[in-house]
Structures are given as structure tokens and as C-alpha cells.
């Protein structure tokens, strides 16, 4: 019998751990948590409609999952507006959670609570541009506002009930959500550009980032036409097919060490796992048999700037960072702007997001006193 034990787990008290055991060809994974347990004891003898709130003891996603389970239990299909609201809530929660983790991941070199203000450590030299950290918090708050609109509260959303949602959206909500979604999308793209051009670049230089991810293809569901859309790593549409044809196109591969299936396109077959240069890290061969495009070459001027930035290297570490960090970033800023402008000009225009409107019920008084164009408590960002 082989056992793999993962401990200690961040955010869970010891002796919380994950144990994966293989015996007689059968794998069994066991997550041991100290609390809250036993959850089944809380749910026993409670009305079923209580589940979406009771199980949020685990995470907000369980609120939506429990509502989905109740839909199936009652054999009801929520109206389209309710499905859209639930999906929007899930996306907003995911965005907020990821952005919060990225923020603390980037600031983990120092205790973000230790000294000065936390918003980008304005008064201290820091590895990353202060403005970026400010923007991260600002868009975190925007995502949080979207969660409050769609879920009713900042935390522990309450609106998903069996068969639908407990509220409808007004015109002001749609307008506000559109503004928030557009701003968050733009920030996510610029943030990913920053990670790719700055953080990963340094990581590869210093050796802690050994793996390079190829551009990821995607398979998304286009709800109005009820069709799956397959895109390559550059976002180019490859093909469309209907839901009944999904499993004719897509196969699932099961590995013995995980209960999660790996999806792959049948026409290209399962590509197997490939070892990477990092021990114990494997990549699924060439992006699950999809039409993974090679990484697009950067525009020539951007490539020249990347080479220039690489020759500059990163801001020196240690005590030197405190001394020359601000001036370093001041020097780099024009270069960054130049690089961004090149990138914007050379990149194809991104399609703007479209939002479906569903009947908003009878008009009611305004939910928000802020005009639809204003974005945050920090002031208007009308450019977004």
C-alpha cells in the first residue's frame, strides 16, 4: 500500500491533511479537516431549502451547488434570468477569490499588514508597481460589489434558492454590472500581461519558474445558440458543435491518482502526460490533443523591448531594493508605457463584452445612488 500525505495545509489547523492511498489497484483520497465537522450532523433533519445556506460553512460555491442540487431534486429548470444571475455570481466570486490570492501572493515577500499602508506599500519600495496593487484592490472591491448585487450580500450569498433566485435585477443593476464586468475584464487582461511580461520573465531568469505554459485553447458554451465553441490558444474559433455531439467529440481519460477526468478531443486521441523540467510536475501532452497554436511571436519592437528589459534585469533584491526601488520603477515606467502602447497597437482589437438583457420586472427605486459611470469609492475611472 502506498500513501501520499499532503500537510500542512494552509488555512487549516493541524492535523488537517490530505492522504491518498493506493491499495489493490484502488485509490482512496481522504481529506482530514479539524473543522467544521461533522457537517452532516448540522444538515440532518433540516428542511432541504436550508442547504444552500448551511453548506456555505464550506465555501460560497457550495451555496450555488446546493441550489443546483435542489433544482434537480425538484426536477425544475430555473428561468434563464436566474441561471444568468447564478453564473454571474459564480464568476464574480471566482474573480474576487483569485484576485485576493494573487494580491497576497505578490506581497508575500513582506507581511502586507506589517507596516505602512497596504495598498501597494506606497511608502516603501516594492518589487511591483504600487499602482498595480492599488488597481488590484480597487477591482477586488468592484467584484465584491457585483457579488453584493447578485448574491444579496458581500459574503455568504443568499439569493440562490431552489428553482431560481430570490430577487430580480433592475435596469440600474444591469448597467452597473456591465460597467463592473468591463472594468474587471480590462484589468484582468492587463494584469495577465504584467504577469507574463514581468513576473514570469524574472521567474524564468532566476530559475524558480521552470515551466512555460503554452497558449491554452478553450471550449466554451455559447448559450443563445446552445452550441459549444472551440477556440485555439489565440482565441480563434475552430469549430462549433451542439451539446448532443459533445461526447462524440470529446473523450475522457482517467488516471489512477485522481478522480478528475482529463478531457481530450477524440480525433486527436489522448496525448499522455509529459514530464516537465520540474520534478513531480507533469503536463498533459500538448494541451489535451487540441489545436494548440504555437505561442504567437511578439511584435518586433516589443521583442526588442523585452530583450532590453531582460538586460536591465529585475530590481535588485535585499537591502538595495529599499534604497533604489522607487527610482527603479520611476525609470522603468516610461519603458513600461512604451511597451504597453506597442502591445496595444499591435494586438488585434478585443471584442467588447455583450450582455443580455432580461425583463427586469416592474421599475423600482434606484438601488444605487451613484451614477452608472462611476466605478469605485476611490473616484471615477471613466476611461474604463
Amino acid at each position: 500500500m502506498k500513501t501520499i500525505t499532503l500537510e500542512c495545509l494552509r488555512g487549516l489547523e493541524a492535523p488537517a491533511r490530505v492522504a491518498i492511498r493506493r491499495q489493490n489497484g484502488r485509490c482512496q483520497a481522504y481529506l482530514q479537516t479539524t473543522s467544521p465537522r461533522p457537517l452532516a450532523q448540522l444538515c440532518r433533519r433540516r428542511p432541504v431549502e436550508e442547504l444552500p445556506r448551511l453548506v456555505t460553512l464550506l465555501s460560497p460555491a457550495h451555496h450555488l451547488a446546493a441550489a443546483l442540487a435542489l433544482d434537480r431534486l425538484g426536477e425544475v429548470t430555473p428561468p434563464e434570468m436566474a441561471q444568468n444571475m447564478r453564473e454571474g455570481l459564480r464568476l464574480a466570486l471566482t474573480y474576487r477569490r483569485h484576485l485576493r490570492k494573487l494580491y497576497f501572493l505578490l506581497l508575500a515577500w513582506e507581511n502586507p499588514w506589517a507596516n505602512g499602508d497596504s495598498l501597494g506599500s506606497r511608502r516603501r519600495s516594492h518589487t511591483f508597481p504600487p499602482r498595480l496593487m492599488d488597481d488590484a484592490w480597487r477591482h477586488l472591491s468592484l467584484a465584491q460589489e457585483a457579488v453584493a448585487i447578485l448574491g444579496g450580500r458581500f459574503d455568504h450569498p443568499v439569493t440562490a434558492v431552489a428553482g431560481g433566485v430570490s430577487r430580480f435585477l433592475k435596469e440600474e443593476h444591469y448597467a452597473r454590472l456591465a460597467v463592473i464586468a468591463g472594468a474587471c475584464r480590462d484589468f484582468a487582461l492587463s494584469f495577465s500581461d504584467f504577469l507574463a511580461s514581468q513576473v514570469f520573465l524574472w521567474g524564468r531568469e532566476e530559475g524558480w519558474l521552470a515551466a512555460e505554459l503554452p497558449p491554452l485553447p478553450s471550449l466554451t458554451l455559447s448559450t443563445p445558440e446552445e452550441q459549444f465553441v472551440r477556440r485555439d490558444g489565440r482565441g480563434q474559433e475552430q469549430e462549433r458543435f451542439t451539446a448532443p455531439a459533445l461526447w462524440e467529440k470529446v473523450g475522457r481519460h482517467q488516471e489512477p491518482w485522481t478522480y478528475e477526468d482529463f478531457a481530450y478531443f477524440r480525433e486527436q486521441g489522448w496525448q499522455h502526460l509529459e514530464p516537465t523540467s520540474v520534478d513531480h510536475l507533469f503536463a498533459v501532452g500538448r494541451c489535451p490533443g487540441s489545436t494548440a497554436a504555437p505561442r504567437p511571436a511578439p511584435p518586433p519592437r516589443l521583442a526588442r523591448w523585452n530583450a532590453s528589459a531582460a538586460s536591465w534585469g529585475r530590481c535588485p533584491a535585499g537591502s538595495w531594493r529599499r534604497r533604489i526601488g522607487p527610482s527603479w520603477w520611476t525609470s522603468c515606467r516610461p519603458l513600461n508605457r512604451w511597451s504597453s502602447s506597442i502591445h496595444r497597437r499591435s494586438s488585434p482589437a478585443r471584442p467588447s463584452a455583450t450582455y443580455r438583457r432580461v425583463g427586469a420586472g416592474r421599475p423600482r427605486r434606484s438601488w444605487s445612488r451613484r451614477p452608472a459611470g462611476s466605478l469605485s469609492r476611490f473616484g471615477s475611472t471613466s476611461g474604463a
Binding site: 500513501t3 448540522l42 436550508e50 499588514w113 444579496g152 443568499v158
Partner: protein
């Protein structure tokens, strides 16, 4: 108080809970940038990865924000240790304040361990044993202040931070919270003084006082469950037949849930004028049943489901007269700052 000088040492800990109260604090940090000007977080396992050993070298902690219910022996030990270490202990969230959702476990006996649970071994040490019943923090150690809610709303949480750790250094942003706090707490907050010990950072009235729904005529004709269709007219949910606990719940949230069509769930606990929130709900509903026919009333009563779990959803370990464990909130003298 001069910013940056003589910072208060703050500890944050969650026992049995979902850690959303800690998330609320993180979001509060975004909201109020100057927090770190007058507070230094010295112990926060969830966010900073602090270990218990980190507390040994810190001397005395000024303020400890304790979230989560006390369900295991480890929770109990943590509560005692943080009480000894802290000058001010604040119960944050419904779980620490009243027992919260984990307290519902007191209604049914514990079941068997899951089948996949391996036998205890040196590689797989056993989990900390469960206490006979889930307790609120105040039932284990004396508590100085309470911030209720699941999770507490940002304005009230910020008001608590200001009151016990900041001593009124930035009262400009307290407009919303001050209007919902009891008079003595709001005045102490504005004056930069510690509020009276035992204060609850929430209102004195019931949620109905701040709920935006229209109250017309309290006549209870039918029992509706949240998934059943009901009139979306902005009318009081209890009048429509939904079991809304706003009448027996302390205000402070501003009626967040009722504003989006979800009945109040009672996460702020009972107002001071009410002895037992469940009894209050029974009285409020039974006195407004729109019938004088005994059989009709009996049929109506049969439609209620899980009354104990509904009326004491967050409060069973501390505010149910029949099942509560005595609590100490703001009455001890050993740990005065």
C-alpha cells in the same frame, strides 16, 4: 493618538467556522487603508501563517478578535490561551457570539466517522475530540465585546476595530455604523473612549425597524417556504407567510437579506428586550394567525417545519432558554486593560 506610534497588537483567530469573518476583515482592510497605522497584527494563522509559538515572544496582546464556535478540545484550549494572552477579547461573528450554524449540531447526536477515515496512526494522528456540545465563546471564557452577524457587516466590524483598537482615531467614516449602534457605544466611539464592557456592536431594536419592506397588516394566513412562489411586491415577508425572524433579531445589518427577498435568518442574535427569540417568534406568529377555527389553526401549525432549527438557527448554544449554556460577556474584572 499619533499614527504609527504605540501600535496596538492585534490577534485574529478562527475556531470552528467558515473563516468568512476573516475574509470580512481582509475586505475591511481594503476599505480602510489606515488600519495598519495604529494596529499591528501579530498573530493570524489563516492569513499570515502564524504559529502558536509566535505568541510566546509577543508578550501581551492588546486585542484579540476571535471568530468561530467552540466545538473541539483544541478550540477550547485556543479560547483559554487567547483569553489569558489578550487584554480585550472580542467575539466576532455569529459562531463566536452565539454558537452559529455549527451549534445546530446540538440538536442531533453525532454520527459515525466516514468510512474513508483511516485508522489513527503516527502518520495520521487523530482529530481533536469533539466536545459534548457546541459552545459559544462566552460560555468558555469571559468575552469583552461582541460583533454579531454572519459575517458582520463591514461598517459594524470597522466600528469595532475603531473602538477597541483604534480608540476613535478616524471617526469620519463611522456615519453608517454610528446611526445603528446603541447610544453609549456610538458616543464612546466618537469620543475615542472604550465602550462599556459587554457592548454589542449592533443596534438595540429589531431588524423590522430598518427593513425596507412595507408592513401593512400582520395577519398570518399560510406558511410558505422560500422556494414557493410568493408575491414580490415589497411587502413584509412575514405577512406573506414566510418565516422571517426580523421581529426577533437585533438590527444592524440594515435588512440586507429581506431586501433581496430572503427572510431574515437571525444571525445578529436577539435584541436586548427579548428573552428567548424562539418564544418571541411563536408569540409573533400565533398572535396574528388569521383564524379562530381550531382545526384550521392546527392544519396551519402542521405546515411549520423544523421550528427549533429555524428559530434558533444561529442561537441554539447561547440564547435558547432550554438548551443554552451560561455565558459571561463583559462582567469579568481579571483582564481589564
Amino acid at each position: 493618538m499619533k499614527q504609527g506610534a504605540n501600535k496596538k497588537k492585534v490577534a485574529v483567530y478562527t475556531a470552528t467556522g467558515c473563516r468568512t469573518c476573516e475574509h470580512a476583515m481582509v475586505d475591511l482592510h481594503y476599505e480602510v487603508n489606515p488600519l495598519t497605522h495604529w494596529a499591528e497584527v501579530v498573530f493570524w494563522p489563516y492569513l499570515l501563517g502564524s504559529a502558536w509559538e509566535d505568541l510566546n515572544g509577543e508578550g501581551r496582546v492588546d486585542v484579540c478578535f476571535f471568530a468561530g464556535a467552540v466545538q473541539t478540545a483544541d478550540d477550547q484550549a485556543a479560547a483559554v490561551r487567547l483569553r489569558d494572552k489578550s487584554q480585550i477579547l472580542v467575539a466576532v461573528g455569529a459562531c463566536a457570539a452565539f454558537g452559529g450554524l455549527p451549534g445546530l449540531a446540538n440538536l442531533s447526536p453525532a454520527g459515525p466517522e466516514p468510512e474513508a477515515a483511516p485508522e489513527p496512526s503516527p502518520e495520521m494522528p487523530p482529530l481533536p475530540p469533539l466536545l459534548p456540545k457546541v459552545l459559544a465563546l462566552g460560555s468558555v471564557v469571559p468575552v469583552d465585546y461582541v460583533v454579531p452577524g454572519c459575517p458582520p457587516t463591514p461598517p459594524l466590524l470597522w466600528a469595532a476595530f475603531q473602538a477597541v483598537a483604534g480608540l476613535g482615531t478616524a471617526p469620519a467614516r463611522l456615519g453608517y455604523a454610528a446611526s445603528r449602534l446603541p447610544g453609549p457605544v456610538a458616543e464612546a466611539l466618537a469620543a475615542g473612549l472604550l465602550p462599556p464592557r459587554g457592548s454589542v456592536f449592533a443596534g438595540d431594536k429589531a431588524v423590522c425597524a430598518s427593513c425596507s419592506r412595507v408592513k401593512e397588516e400582520k395577519l398570518f394566513r399560510r406558511v410558505l417556504r422560500p422556494y414557493q412562489a410568493y408575491e414580490e411586491s415589497g411587502r413584509c415577508l412575514l405577512e406573506q407567510g414566510l418565516i422571517c425572524q426580523g421581529v426577533a433579531t437585533r438590527e444592524g445589518c440594515g435588512g440586507l437579506c429581506t431586501a433581496v427577498g430572503v427572510p431574515c435568518r437571525g444571525c445578529f442574535g436577539k435584541p436586548p428586550a427579548i428573552v428567548d427569540p424562539g418564544a418571541k417568534m411563536v408569540a409573533a406568529i400565533s398572535s396574528t394567525i388569521d383564524s379562530s377555527d381550531a382545526e384550521e389553526i392546527a392544519c396551519l401549525a402542521e405546515d411549520f417545519v423544523d421550528l427549533a432549527g429555524t428559530f434558533y438557527r444561529y442561537l441554539l448554544p447561547s440564547q435558547c432558554l432550554l438548551m443554552a449554556t451560561p455565558m459571561t460577556v463583559g462582567k469579568h474584572e481579571d483582564h481589564n486593560p
